[in-house]
Amino acid sequence: MSASVAHATETMTDLPSQERAGVIGVHGVTKRFPGVIAVDNVSLTFHRGEVHVLLGENGAGKSTLVGMLSGLQEPDEGHLTLNGHKARLASPSASLEAGISTVFQHSMLVPTLTVLENLTLGAPWHERPPRARIAARMEELKREFALSLPLDAVVGELSLGQQQQIEIARALLRDSKVLILDEATSMLTPQGAQELGERMQQLVRSGLAVIFITHKLAEAYRYGNRISVLKQGALAGEMGPEELKAMSEEQAVDEIVRLMFGREAGTASVENRKSTARDSIVLKVEGLSTQGDADVMGVRDVSLALRAGEIVGVAGIDGNGQKQLAEAMAGQRPLIAGHVELEGEDITRASVAQRRRKGLRYLTDDRLSEGSVSAFPISENTVLKDIGQPPFWVRGVERPQRIAQHARDLIARFSVRTPNEMTPIGRLSGGNIQKVLLGRELSGEARVVVFNKPTYGLDLKNIETSRQRISDIAERGLGVLLISTDLDELMALSDRIAVMEGGRIRGIVENDGSGEALRLRIGRMMAGEEDHKQATP
């Protein structure tokens, strides 16, 4: 790892000075959306031969800035420059023509088309697909970057990691001058992320400018030559190559955190919480199996027991049956075998609503398309899982006042930032939606809460408060099943960690604080190796 860091800080020196004007720049740009100033009078220059890292909390305006550079949005104020000249990028094609290639935060592939077609996308409609040319270029990429893709595979059938590779390949195929990667490492394994880091360094050495956006501060330090921090749309600080080189990783991270949050955010985070597990078993799952199909993996023969006050983590690479397990427990997915017990009561046949009333709660990982109805006001969203129940409904008739009051309480208790409870929930930021959903799951008599990736996509500050809440819940004596792809999170919070792979539990390990060794053991199980020292309570 230190090798690549060394590369990173070297490349700058031998570039001709005229290049210092910057291949692309933004000057005093401002972009407003209803109710928010997404980007606020930002000026930045991106240079050839540099990996320029953009950092900032959720909603800081990073993607909006990217949008302006890639022609998706035009600034309300300010302007862009290309090679020092004022320029306008009115459409994505204008941006592509200017030599700017972007890998967006959210996948921009067409899942029903083949890899080749996705790589050709945007070519004039009357031309024939340039298969031979693309195949030849892919060969080159394969040699240069070890990027290898099945050209005739349908994209939707590939893994998310492979899909991200397609997007990177697409950006590389266009002989671009600027490459923008917006959270391009989010779906990659640590290994993949490192490869990408090395690839970026390779690219800047060949004369490109790379703009790299990430939430992982260590990555920023390791792969970046220059770091800019955005805060609430405005530029909060910049760290040049010399400055960066002079700092250690820890120092740099501290500095970034200070710039981003204005305080030492990292320190207060829940470090290996103390177990609050009690003896009574609140949730027991035995031999649970679900039907799989082409799109979703089935869960096979999962058994698990959860004690009051205990947090059991579920680790695994995304898509190995975790979501299906959670859904099966919540009653959302039919079982083909096995049974579920809640505090000794068999709830295998209970419906979602019945389970909820008995105290089994499930916080989905898909806040927007599953957890909330974005067009409905916050107030209605807080009671979506209690439709028809008193006190919000009396004999089926809505009590709007009661609901509004309930929503206002929840907003206050979970400090949801919103104009009022009538605001459509889709208008809130991801973190605030998450707070509403959390509040919804925890209201009333909860006994067991299943969290599915509760901090996914949140910024450091929000991650921290969310983790604190989860830990508090366990302390109150609830059982918590915590599904996450983030091993650090699991190791910080869980009493035990179950590892899922291929729809099965490969093993359950005690979180004994053994650090790297445990991490390695879990990693092996995630890759499908059976763990024989299963620890069951």
């Binding site: 949008g67 890639s70 998706l72 949005q73 459409s91 994505p92 094609s93 592509l96 023509e97 972007t102 967006f104 996948s107 921009m108 592939l109 067409v110 899942p111 029903t112 088309l113 077609e117 996705n118 050709t120 996308l121 945007g122 070519a123 004039p124 409609w125 009357h126 031309e127 024939r128 697909p129 697409r170």
Partner: protein, 311 residues
């Protein structure tokens, strides 16, 4: 039943199937392109009717069937322009505007017909037919398949041309991207609204041609409301054809055959009440929907307006 399988029965079946299939084929091919590109073009019925009216008007006033077809295409495109502006460029609801357009064109053409033709009912001369020597003389299928107006062969050729275009050029891929993930096409440098507008206009052109066929070849004159749901059948054909022109052809032939079977059964003197026979084509479509409906995979962004950068 064996006595039904006479030459008379079969030739009326084949003849009727082809005659009935052509307008639906044209409409279905047109609709297919819109649907691929993510626009559910419910206004196609109106486009057909406008095509029928304009097609007849031009053919009648210029004495040229071919100019008439051009007129039909123009009429269809004219209607499609409204749809393209309102639904593609401005993002208004496609179903409501589609229904509105259809109603509007029904009213408008009936009104114009009333003031122009309703006292005289002018008709066009019988269309020339392209007799293919030898083939036309074949028993049963000869006169039905061959010896039709050239536009029939053009419609069949359109199936081939479209299939090739979709397969051999970037067109198919671009359309599918616009229908599946318009944002992906946009950021790749494609022109989402452009391709959608083109698709909607193409639908208008094909529907207009289909309408002109109905008026000029099918009837020899324009009658208000004469399309009678052919456009809606086109929508169903396009939805079931999963993006393949050949399937639209097969579907339209099946539907045409079902329509024609109602005639053929009657001509053959079947004793089933005609009211019951006439439900056949629609019952056939429902049956197909019940059996295959699930497989009618529609584009993910079908019906959704695209606005760059919206979220």
């Amino acid at each position: 039943m064996s006595s039904l399988l006479t030459e008379a029965f079969l030739s009326s079946l084949f003849t009727g199937a082809i005659v009935a299939a052509i307008p639906m084929l044209l409409a279905g091919l047109g609709e297919q392109m819109s649907e691929k590109a993510g626009v559910l073009n419910i206004g196609i019925e109106g486009m057909m009717l406008m095509g029928a009216y304009m097609g007849f008007l031009v053919a009648f006033s210029t004495d040229s069937l071919w100019l008439g077809f051009l007129g039909g295409i123009f009429g269809g495109v004219l209607t499609a322009v409204v749809m393209a502006v309102l639904c593609v460029r401005l993002g208004l609801n496609q179903i409501v505007i589609g229904i509105g357009l259809t109603l509007g064109v029904e009213g408008l053409t009936a009104l114009l017909h009333h003031f122009q033709f309703s006292r005289t009912y002018p008709r066009l001369p019988a269309p020339v037919r392209l007799d293919i020597p030898g083939l036309t003389d074949l028993p049963v299928i000869g006169p039905s398949l061959f010896g039709r107006h050239p536009i029939v062969y053009l419609a069949l050729l359109a199936v081939l041309v479209l299939a090739l275009l979709y397969r051999r050029t970037n067109l198919g891929m671009t359309l599918r991207a616009a229908g599946e993930r318009p944002a992906a096409l946009d950021v790749a440098g494609g022109n989402v609204l452009g391709i959608r507008v083109v698709a909607v206009l193409f639908t208008g052109a094909m529907a207009g041609l289909g309408g002109a066929y109905l008026a000029n070849i099918g009837a020899g004159l324009f009658i208000p409301f004469m399309t009678g749901g052919a456009g809606f059948i086109g929508i169903v054909l396009a939805m079931l054809a999963r993006g393949r022109p050949l399937w639209v052809l097969i579907g339209s032939l099946i539907f045409g055959a079902a329509l024609s079977l109602t005639t053929a059964l009657q001509v053959a003197g079947s004793n089933i009440p005609t009211d019951v026979i006439q439900m056949l084509p629609f019952a056939a479509v429902m049956l197909v929907l019940v059996i295959f409906g699930r497989r009618a995979k529609l584009p993910a962004a079908l019906g959704a307006a695209y606005e760059r950068g919206a979220r």
